[in-house]
């Protein structure tokens, strides 16, 4: 291929980039939107923590109350209190107007309802997390595709710029070989160099844009992965809380039907001690789990907040570097314009002093 054909081909080549053709403002808006989304995710995480703490606290409190009620019922059945079950098969207790207690089965059923409600709250919390995890996973997949497209385009742009650089180098050599800067060949070659420089600059800008896009979207993906990891761990911890809640419910419920059927009061006494021990274990388990989960979220929100700052810093650095590059190009253009202007001005001055040839 002759040099002329090569130059013509290089300049005439239409470079096709995959996917979105980023504009600088567009990329900036995209990154800004994710910055806001991550800030909102952090706030959501903080509100998830608040919700978790509240659920865990209420659950621990309610279960502790259930335990107390359970012990009270245990006392009734084992004879620390008079009436109620012992003589139940012979006589019904006298309804004493001064006994302000609610029926025991109602009391215990209320505890069951509260424990059930708390467990459902945890279940709903789990669904919320599952939804968030699902959304984040889809987002990561979508963003990864964007990263791949940006990387591919970066390669395309780089390869074209390098090709143009070679053409530019050869044209510069040609220019030196011509020597006479007043000749038509010299001016033609010089014009070609300018044209190649212009195309190089255009695609160089794209190269930088794609490179930035790749880096910045990779940062977003990294942040999403952080959230994903935290939410997955939170899900596991909440699942533990849910399981413990179900255990407590089963224990309360297992004895509730017995309590509702007075005829079974005898057997109930036997089960009471064991049931109370088991309930205590479950309540303690809930308390430990709740405390660990709370600590986990607190630590991770702090870590993420710190990472958000780093992420912001990185973004800022990228933006600054872009702006610097842009400034450089502008300054270069201005320099070129001034140089050209100076040259033109010099020629004019020369013509004025020497007069027409």
């Amino acid at each position: 291929m002759t040099q002329v054909t090569e130059r013509a081909d290089a300049l005439a080549r239409e470079v096709v980039y995959d996917g979105e053709q980023y504009e600088r403002d567009e990329l900036q808006s995209f990154v800004d939107a994710y910055g806001k989304k991550h800030e909102s995710d952090l706030q959501n995480l903080a509100s998830l923590k608040t919700a978790h703490d509240e659920i865990a606290r209420e659950m621990s409190k309610d279960l502790a109350v259930s335990k107390t009620a359970w012990e009270y019922i245990g006392g009734l059945v084992s004879g620390e209190f008079t009436s109620n079950f012992k003589g139940l098969l012979e006589k019904i207790p006298i309804l004493n107007e001064f006994v302000a207690d609610r029926p025991l089965s109602d009391l215990l059923h209320e505890k069951v309802e509260v424990a059930e409600r708390r467990t459902r709250e945890v279940g709903n919390f789990l669904t919320t997390i599952e939804k968030r995890v699902g959304d984040l996973q889809s987002d990561v997949i979508r963003l990864n595709k964007k990263v791949v497209v940006a990387a591919r385009n970066e390669e395309t742009a780089a390869s074209f710029v390098l090709q143009l650089r070679d053409v530019q180098a050869r044209l510069t050599e040609d220019l030196s070989a011509i020597g006479d800067d007043k000749s038509a060949a010299w001016r033609e070659t010089k014009a070609e160099i300018d044209e190649v420089t212009q195309v190089m600059w255009e695609h160089g800008a794209k190269l930088r844009l794609f490179s930035n896009a790749e880096d910045r979207i990779t940062s977003i993906v990294a942040m999403n992965r952080n959230f994903l990891q935290i939410l997955t761990n939170l899900h596991a911890n909440m699942q533990g809380l849910y399981d413990a809640g179900i255990e407590v419910l089963d224990e309360l419920r297992g004895n509730l039907s017995g309590l509702a059927t007075a005829a079974q009061a005898g057997e109930l006494t036997l089960d009471m001690q064991e049931a109370m021990q088991s309930l205590k274990r479950s309540v303690n388990r809930v308390a430990v789990l709740a405390s660990n989960t709370s600590l986990y979220i607190t630590q991770n929100v702090e870590r993420l907040t710190a990472e958000m700052k780093v992420y912001d810093d990185e973004t800022r650095a990228l933006v600054e570097s872009n702006l610097a590059a842009e400034r450089e190009v502008r300054e270069q253009r201005i320099d070129e314009t001034i140089a050209l202007a100076e040259k033109e001005f010099g020629l004019m001055e020369e013509a004025r002093t020497t007069g027409p040839a």
């Binding site: 139940l88 098969l89 012979e90 006589k91 019904i92 006298i94 309804l95 107007e97 001064f98 006994v99 302000a100 207690d101 609610r102 029926p103 089965s105 109602d106 059923h109 209320e110 069951v112 309802e113 059930e116 409600r117 467990t119 459902r120 709250e121 709903n124 669904t127 919320t128 599952e130 939804k131 968030r132 699902g134 959304d135 419920r253 509730l256 039907s257 309590l259 509702a260 059927t261 007075a262 005829a263 079974q264």
Partner: protein, 353 residues
């Protein structure tokens, strides 16, 4: 009245607490819930019965389609044929968190309302949201609620006439029950009042509520007797109405019903018993072919004591039962009741179509 002990039957008056459970899943659960819903809706439940609308909502929400696939199973008590306490509490607990759950879900996905309104919602999150919206729109009945209404007051006599309506999910019988109690309360001079009237405002002490709650665990006559023993309270009428048991093949039922269902598999009979102790009644009447009254469950000696109490308190007891069944069981049930010489009202549940 005196504070002597009231004879108690050696066995519970109703069937034993239903300990045995059976779990229906998927299509079977759906068919079951829809069938019971039809029966409840067709039972023409009057104001003495638990609220039909919220019961219908309960069975709608229990169905896998009603919970939008969030729950696939219904646990049924083999002694009652009705959903167990666990199932009822499940729907109630879901209802209690529904508002917050909807709010949280809408915060995650602001388009959720539109998505949920669409015909196709395969996403589990959207279906769960729909379920919570349905719970808010049609709440299930609470497991306990008490309403007190002032009917009349006589300030000079320091007396108030009240109607107490107590709805509860009876844990022993595992069915919904409503007690309607008409009573007169007289402000005592020497002890704390249970009820206070401030102009038109009725103030009822927690003690009073607890007394009523403690008393309303058994049949109407026993509730009448127990509340009559409380100084300052004069009971006029106690009516207890239950929704259940539900009989179908495989469920514990009286022998004639079991035989009937063996000949008519796939049919359902919902029993709606009523028992009432009332001072305005003229005679004791047991028109319930399957219910054993409080007095009848006692030993011969103890019955004498109850007869004395009946005279002393001046009330009469009436028991009756109506039924609502699927059309295929109606004629056989009519024939059966005719043979028992206790004819009852029978409604046929309309088909869903």
């Amino acid at each position: 009245m005196s504070a002597r002990a009231v004879p108690r039957s050696a066995e519970p008056l109703d069937s034993l607490a239903p300990q045995a459970r059976y779990e229906l899943r998927g299509r079977a659960a759906e068919t079951y819930a829809r069938s019971v819903r039809r029966l409840v809706a067709g039972g023409r439940l009057n104001r003495f019965f638990p609220d039909a609308r919220s019961l219908v909502a309960l069975f709608d929400l229990l169905a896998p389609s009603g919970s939008q696939g969030t729950h696939d199973e219904i646990e049924v008590g083999l002694g009652t044929g009705l959903p167990t306490e666990r199932m009822v509490t499940r729907v109630q607990a879901d209802a209690s968190i529904a508002a917050e759950a909807c709010h949280d879900a809408e915060a995650i996905d602001p388009t959720l309302r539109d998505l949920a309104a669409g015909a196709n919602a395969d996403d589990a999150f959207v279906r769960r949201y729909r379920y919570h919206r349905a719970l808010l729109a049609h709440p299930p009945p609470p497991s306990f609620s008490m309403r007190r209404e002032l009917r009349r007051a006589d300030p000079e006599a320091r007396a108030a006439w009240l109607t107490v309506t107590l709805d509860r999910f009876d844990l022993a019988a595992e069915c919904f029950v409503r007690y309607t109690i008409l009573l007169r309360h007289e402000d005592p001079r020497w002890s704390r009042s249970q009820v206070r009237l401030d102009e038109d405002d009725l103030e009822v002490s927690e003690n009073f509520d607890n007394l009523v709650a403690r008393a309303t665990a058994r049949d109407a006559e026993l509730v009448f007797i127990l509340l009559s023993r409380v100084p300052s309270i004069t009971v006029e009428n106690v009516t207890r109405c239950r929704v259940g048991p539900l009989w179908f093949a495989g469920i514990e039922a009286p022998d004639p019903i079991r035989d009937l269902l063996a000949d008519h598999p796939g049919e359902f009979i919902l029993s709606l018993p009523l028992d009432r102790a009332d001072v305005s009644g003229r005679a004791h009447r047991n028109g319930d072919p399957f219910g054993l009254g409080y007095r009848e469950a006692l030993s011969r000696a103890a019955r004498g004591e109850v007869d004395e109490l009946r005279k002393e308190l001046g009330y009469h007891v009436r028991r009756e039962r109506k039924f609502v069944c699927t059309p295929g069981a109606a004629q056989a049930l009519r024939d059966q009741l005719k043979r028992s010489k206790k004819p009852c009202v029978i409604y046929e549940a309309k088909s869903e179509r």
